[in-house]
Symmetry: C2
Amino acid sequence: MVNETQHTCSASCSSRSDGSSSGSESSKDSSRCSTPVLDADRHERLREKMRRRQEAGDKWFSLEFFPPRTANAAVNLISRFDRMGAGGPLFIDVTWHPAGDPGSDKETSSMIIANTAVNYCGLETILHMTCCNQTKDDITGHLQKAKRLGLKNIMALRGDPAGEEWEEEVDGFNHAVDLVKHIRSEFDDYFDICVAGYPKGHPEAESYEADLRHLKEKVFAGADFIITQLFFRPETFLRFMKDCQAIGITCPIIPGIFPIQGYHSLRQLVKLSKLEVPQEIKDVIEPIKDNDAAIRNYGVELAVSMCRELLDSGMVHGLHFYTLNREVATTEVLKRLGLWKEDPRRPLPWAVSAHPKRRVEDVRPIFWASRPKSYIYRTQEWDDFPNGRWGNSSSPAFGELKDYYLFYLKSKSPREELLKMWGEELTGEESVFEVFTCYITGEPNKNGYKVTCMPWNDDPLATETNLLKHQLEKVNRRGILTINSQPNINGKPSTDPIVGWGPSGGYVFQKAYLEFFASSEIVTALLKVLKKYELRVNYHIVNVKGQNITNAPDLQPNAVTWGIFPGREIIQPTVVDPVSFLYWKDEAFALWIEQWAKLYEEESPSRMIIQYIHDNYYLVNLVDNDFPLENCLWQVVDDTFELLN
Amino acid sequence: MVNETQHTCSASCSSRSDGSSSGSESSKDSSRCSTPVLDADRHERLREKMRRRQEAGDKWFSLEFFPPRTANAAVNLISRFDRMGAGGPLFIDVTWHPAGDPGSDKETSSMIIANTAVNYCGLETILHMTCCNQTKDDITGHLQKAKRLGLKNIMALRGDPAGEEWEEEVDGFNHAVDLVKHIRSEFDDYFDICVAGYPKGHPEAESYEADLRHLKEKVFAGADFIITQLFFRPETFLRFMKDCQAIGITCPIIPGIFPIQGYHSLRQLVKLSKLEVPQEIKDVIEPIKDNDAAIRNYGVELAVSMCRELLDSGMVHGLHFYTLNREVATTEVLKRLGLWKEDPRRPLPWAVSAHPKRRVEDVRPIFWASRPKSYIYRTQEWDDFPNGRWGNSSSPAFGELKDYYLFYLKSKSPREELLKMWGEELTGEESVFEVFTCYITGEPNKNGYKVTCMPWNDDPLATETNLLKHQLEKVNRRGILTINSQPNINGKPSTDPIVGWGPSGGYVFQKAYLEFFASSEIVTALLKVLKKYELRVNYHIVNVKGQNITNAPDLQPNAVTWGIFPGREIIQPTVVDPVSFLYWKDEAFALWIEQWAKLYEEESPSRMIIQYIHDNYYLVNLVDNDFPLENCLWQVVDDTFELLN
């Protein structure tokens, strides 16, 4: 929120996000997550997290976004959530656009964007909600839906009047305080409620003092904290804060920071929010108004110096950024302030979802490591999530994945880009091997394009997988088409920048894992070789028809990642599970067709090659149980090729 | 069972067990268990275990005992179960003595002895039951009680007639087959049922052939397997087995082996069972009838050679031993046959209970490590047992331990022995330190007696604890009175003879643990020292009044033993749990009074010294979380003493 009357503006002036950064600027594996490390963070509500951070003297930041206007922009916004989430915001918030059907199921609605942020990006999220010109039933319906989706925080706003003139409705919601009261009376203490504060007073208020009294009313009606309208001078905020405290407002008040990013956006913004830009700022930007880079640099400087002053005052513990859905300026400010977490500690090796019912979840099959959003989607109907142990009693009923079109499951790259990466025309299975190999090596393909994503992984290779690069390249060249792998780890510190996760002071472990597609010829040889490794290597081999060969004892899951921490029970967040592997198999095989084959004309040779692989190859996973020894899976593959020669 | 008419005999001729072996002959920690290692063994019923062993070509043995006549004999018998259980029997069975109130709650009843074997010794157990001269209701009541106690196997027998002459009762139970039918009709398939076979025909049967037909009837009525009466020549059994198969009996038939252990017991036995001792055996034993050792040696030789012949025939997969409640001869035969497992693989570091409702149990607090029977007793009312994770949600409602008199919780040593070990007269706290130190070192105390048990541990020091002997001695001498400890282990093979457990091919780990009583002076210094180790060492410190100091995060449990195995989830069988520690504290402090103070006269100085320690000392536990590094707990203790000086 910048101003209750500004939402439409920011949507119109910035809904074209700076899409240049889609995917390729980050080499982080999408399965790696960014939520803070303390267990408490998964269980506490936002106001408690805020209090704990404040008590610990731990400064934080939060980020505001508005919903996108198109489906493509939604895909980009979600990538931005993932990337900016990596910096460790305490929460993000999503504005409410009455004109954009904000409570609907459209991929561009406020509700669905907030839902995606919470459930698929694992971000603590505040959903804005306005109340004027809406019936009580509409509002209750929105709130119920938000609760159902796992949203826990509401920013209660009045919203824009329908016409130019403001008219009070009898029995209607005329002020934000009405919405606060309604939420508390209908939903008790379920939601954390945030309200807006105006350091210079709301433009429609009778006076600054009257506006302060309105704010106090909102807080006393049940709001938990305040986020302020933007302002241009630190003293504006500090005075406001003292005035609030003087009349008895004791909840957290978070300053809203607006890094100036461009001349026109600033002009439009101040016009709508009825703020005045101080003369000293005008003096600087007017002369450079056509130089975007210069204005942005100035905006960053200005924001950094203002934030420093606020933090140094000792009265400010968190900063809220109006991002206008852009990354660069805000990230730059945060980095210069030292608030951006370059290596945010991961509570688990995968991105935890922020839905309350997934709070206890701490085990997942490894198969979806590169497609965590698909895993969350396919398990969204579960009532219980595995905790402590996957268990062979968990009979996983995974939802079918037919909905490849869902914006948060879609590839970030358009068809033309994919064709350049994966080949306009395939000439045989070898040209498929070549694509896999280029993805691993990072070398351009024969047409000079780098392969930065694959149907099974929309991101460049994970840092951890890079450890295995040389061996992966060798085997992909020969038709062992790898889609997932991890090295063995025998007790590295939990703070290790590449493989670490969980609280500090612990040790993390992994069993070596390799998952790939291969022809039946390779699989026949592999099975002979595996006899030699019977006690050491567990395997599951399955084709699209479901023919399934495994040596898993009693169909038990095999823990392949675990961590030992001070004063805690063991955490084993990833397992290789024979039952869920059969569900993953459906998805993994379908991706050949949905993402790759369908790029080509029907009946075309390229399409038939992919179809042939889909119909005839096997999906194989291998675990080397002897994690303290050198990984034997490469030897298994070498032996297989030797047998084939 | 030796013969349905022989039960009273064996009770009368052998109820004085060879008590010489109580406790001291085994240095195995009582918390170390002996059930076989496969998970399947915890979940399969007896007949399935038998079938799996047979299919795997894995020979096994079982042991028959009769209930003791006195409470003291019961204590000794339970120790014998623990010791002989260590050899790895597939099951034990307990005979039914109609004259001894066999279904009652007396500590000498068949029911209670079988209950103890299953629940407290973790042994698969068959309870014998006879049916003649009993009402249907009585029998149903016994069976219901057996089921309630977790017994799963019944040996269905006719029993002895009331008078000399056998009279059929109309509508009564006249034959074992009636009992088999009754069990199946009232309890469906809940129980595994065993019946008796007579290789020479039952003495009361019309003919050998008629007896075979009776046996077939019992099997067809629902019996799962047959154990035979004793016999003297292998060909007797082999011919019987062929005859059984010829008339269509296909279930397992287990030969009953009776190692001759003395002249008189043999004579009495054959008289009652109406068997004839072959001339070649009489010829040997008559001349040596007064030489017990010679007869026993001969009995062992004879049994070994007969067993070898049976096993070599390929028709026999398991051997059932009539132990007459004695250890030496049977153990000797089993060792010479190679059936006695010197190092039976342990499925978990502690003795699992065989009660069906405890099947999934795989986590326990470490506190009861030396008192597993007390732990089982105090948790016997639990409906669910922790599995995979202890969890801080498990709100453990431990039963109070007031019942120190329960025979399976009692010390094996009589009062006089305890006084010799722990001091007829204490002169101060130092004389208590001395007792602890002698227990650790194994050196005799100043009166020349070895201290082989303590109130908190009825067995000599565990092999594992021996690894810490030198350090333990040092600290006990200075008043850190240790009652439980384990070294840190960083990935030893699961087959390690001292610290190994679980399936082979795995790795086991431990965090170093130390638990002790200490004066408040020591504790004050210790708390200062612990500040230096805040992140590395977790501690709980509590006195008898419940004053409690801990740094456990969020009262979470700390896993201190865990194992990583091929194709499985992580197993973490022991935890240090802040909540259950407060229950253990009550028991640990009470043992000072119940087991030690009460040895002395009221108001005596010795009693007052123990009472003083009970009232004023603290119980402390320490965990070093940094298991890959050298154990720092000794340094913590050294620093504490240094601070005190």
